[in-house]
Amino acid sequence: MPAQVLTSVVDGLMLGFVYGVAAMGMTLIWGVMRVINLSHGPLIALGMFGTYFLFTGLGLNPYLGLLLIAVVGLVAGFVIYGVAVHRVINAPYLSSLLATFAVSMMIIGVGTAALSTSPFNVDFSLGSVAAGPLTIPGTRLMAAFAAVLVAGLLYLFLYRTKPGKAIRAVSNNRGAAELMGIPSSRVLALSFGIGTMLAGLAGGLIATFFPFTILSGETYQLKSFVIGVLGGLGNPIGALVGGLVLGLLEGIIPAFMPVSWVPVIEFALFVLVLLIRPTGLLGGRA
């Protein structure tokens, strides 16, 4: 039994890192512009397909492919921001929710027509690492490593670079930031671009070990909400910790009850945290 729990917890944590990356993008966008990005899930799914086509079509190593996905994601984020979000950024928040939902419908609609909803697989394996009772597929180890790397880079960007500081300034107080001469439109577009990039990266990583369809992003979008709240909405670094907490829960809960109770507990906890401590267990925004 203890060996089983250990395996389960390690599996959960490995996945938690990737959840963290997925949630970082969501929570960054929320923090900066107070928009819940409902196209986050489909963007994650597009990231998965990015890995698929780069690997299967061009034979590119999935981890190298991530670089390309990051660039495309950034640009896609700018475009989505410009077309769908910018006009409603100051409207009641329902408008931005629906605008991003419309984007999600379009991605899923075109995606379904072009890619069907049959599952795709990236046939890529790094073997497994075995240690005692543990067997961890190499792709998951790499994904966890990549997730830490991404989180680290994001931290450096937000705290050590000028555009990063501008993002944090706008996130704290857009009005004041504008008065200080920070071009808020550009910062908002940049944040949306980075958020989209992170969604794409998360998808690209997930694709190396799970099969996916254009609809697969929804699960991770919902998990991103939970993680965002656990780690503090608007706090991208907290999201990584939130992801780990969620992964840990997913590892521990099955030891005590059927696995199908996991989402019940997850979402109940989510609502509870929202009620008791809406700023998140870890508090504050970036």
């Binding site: 089983q4 395996t7 389960s8 599996d11 959960g12 996945l15 379904t112 069907s116 909803t117 049959s118 599952p119 697989n121 046939d123 497994s128 075995a130 067997t135 597929p137 799970f210 099969p211 996916f212 369809t213 609809l215 697969s216 997913e250 590892g251 099955p254 059927p258 696995v259 199908s260 996991v262």
Partner: protein, 435 residues
């Protein structure tokens, strides 16, 4: 006051447009429909029979449903190419089909079938793929009095609801895995520990509920009993609950989840001696899993290796109807350049059974065709077919049997599908232990 009048007018126009949209599709095709409905009333000449169904062009059941539709379309093309079906009274029937995309979702499927019956004037219905959808549609078939052959749907529970026009062409879910347990008992009398992990949909739940009771009755110990959601991709939490020293892992659900489950069983290094999964293994595409497919056993409604023939029918004392098994396989390969799976064969068989029933009835009248189906007991390339006619479980399949396949390595090292059970029809002995 004029403003109100104007406004009233605007609203009226809006409402009428909305209403018109609802009515439009029906209005555009008034000619085609009535002819078919009355095909039986007139004699001589040529009539067209419309068969309606939905297919899951998108959604989780997309692969299986697509195969089923392929199979059905092959039957449709063949019968029409032969000049249609000639009835005893001299009428020649041509067949047409009408279908929509149900997105693998239940919420629109009832509306679509209502449309098929009323607007497209479908004379007969074929069920959508998967038990959940077929279950929802059975209500419509009954409500509008249309005979429906269910293909790709085998929940026993669909047939305990008092329906009288719904006929199941597949072996019911409750018998999917019982044969696998028989096979296990034969291969290894010492096997004790069985882990059951299944998709939590209607079909798979019916399967494992029956299998669990059967296994416990035979003295097996169920060490894990867990269900996962449709569309699951991460099976680690379930696999982690399989204790060491397990003898058999059985369960699964449909293609997408089943193949992922098999892959992750290998990745996680589960050393089960016997793995039997639903639906996925018999699909030729399963071989793409490579090592993860090796040794996996799957219940199948039908296999190209099966041995149903006119001789077999004679031995069983029933009629043989329709094409030879080899001919079906050749035709299907010719048209779709792939090996037919049982879903494809099921689609073809659904058309074929309907054809036979209409031929016997000598009419397209619902009640006469129903009577013919009630009396039906025959063999086709798909196997034996006989329906339950008791009031309680009307339409349940009684005649058809499952076969069990296993992916084995051939002499050339390539994965091949072998029939390993039942004993009488096997093409190879089972590989045991599987891993």
């Amino acid at each position: 006051m004029r403003k109100i009048a104007v406004l009233g007018l605007v609203l009226l126009v809006v409402s009428l447009t909305i209403v018109a949209c609802g009515g439009a599709p029906a209005a555009t095709q008034p000619g085609a429909a009535p002819a078919a409905g009355q095909a039986a009333a007139k004699t001589g000449g040529e009539k067209t029979v419309t068969i309606g169904f939905t297919t899951s062009q998108t959604g989780s059941a997309n692969l299986e449903s697509g195969r089923q539709t392929n199979g059905f379309k092959l039957w449709l093309d063949e019968i029409n190419a032969k000049g249609g079906l000639k009835l005893a009274d001299g009428t020649t029937l041509k067949f047409a089909s009408k279908s929509y995309d149900d997105e693998s979702k239940k919420d629109r499927v009832q509306e679509l079938y209502t449309k098929l019956v009323n607007d497209d004037k479908a004379d007969f219905l074929i069920s959508p793929y998967s038990s959940g959808l077929a279950d929802a549609v059975a209500v419509i078939a009954e409500q509008y009095g249309r005979v429906m052959i269910t293909a790709g749907a085998s929940s026993d529970s669909t047939h305990d609801k008092g329906y009288s026009l719904v006929y199941m062409s597949y072996t019911p879910a409750s018998r999917y895995l019982t044969g696998a347990l028989d096979l296990l008992a034969k291969l290894d009398p010492n096997a004790k520990k069985v882990a059951i992990i299944n998709e939590k949909d209607k079909f798979s739940t019916d399967v494992v509920t029956a299998a669990k009771a059967y296994a416990e009755g035979k003295g097996y110990q169920i060490v894990t009993f867990e269900g996962y959601d449709t569309g699951a991709t991460d099976f680690a939490p379930y696999i982690n609950k399989i204790p060491a020293g397990v003898d058999a892992v059985i369960g699964g659900g449909h293609f997408a989840d089943g193949s992922t489950f098999a892959r992750q069983l290998l990745e996680k290094g589960i050393k089960a001696k016997f793995i039997a999964l639903l639906v996925a293994p018999p699909e030729p595409k399963f071989a793409e899993l490579g090592d993860a497919a090796l040794g996996v056993i799957g219940p199948s409604q039908w296999e190209p290796l099966a041995k149903y023939s006119a001789e077999g029918a004679k031995a069983a004392g029933v009629e043989y109807y329709g094409p030879k098994l080899e001919d079906f396989v050749t035709e299907y390969k010719g048209k779709y350049t792939e090996e037919p799976s049982y879903h494809a064969a099921g689609g073809y068989a659904a058309g074929l059974l309907l054809q036979k029933a209409i031929e016997t009835a000598g009419s397209t009248d619902t009640q006469k065709v129903k009577a013919a189906l009630d009396k039906m007991d025959l063999m086709t390339f798909f196997g034996r077919t006989k329906f339950d006619t008791s009031e309680k479980t009307h339409g349940l399949q009684l005649g058809h049997d499952m076969v069990y396949i296993q992916w084995q390595k051939g002499a050339d090292g390539k994965l091949t599908k072998q029939v390993v059970w039942p004993e009488a029809g096997k093409s190879a002995s089972a590989l045991y232990p599987a891993r």
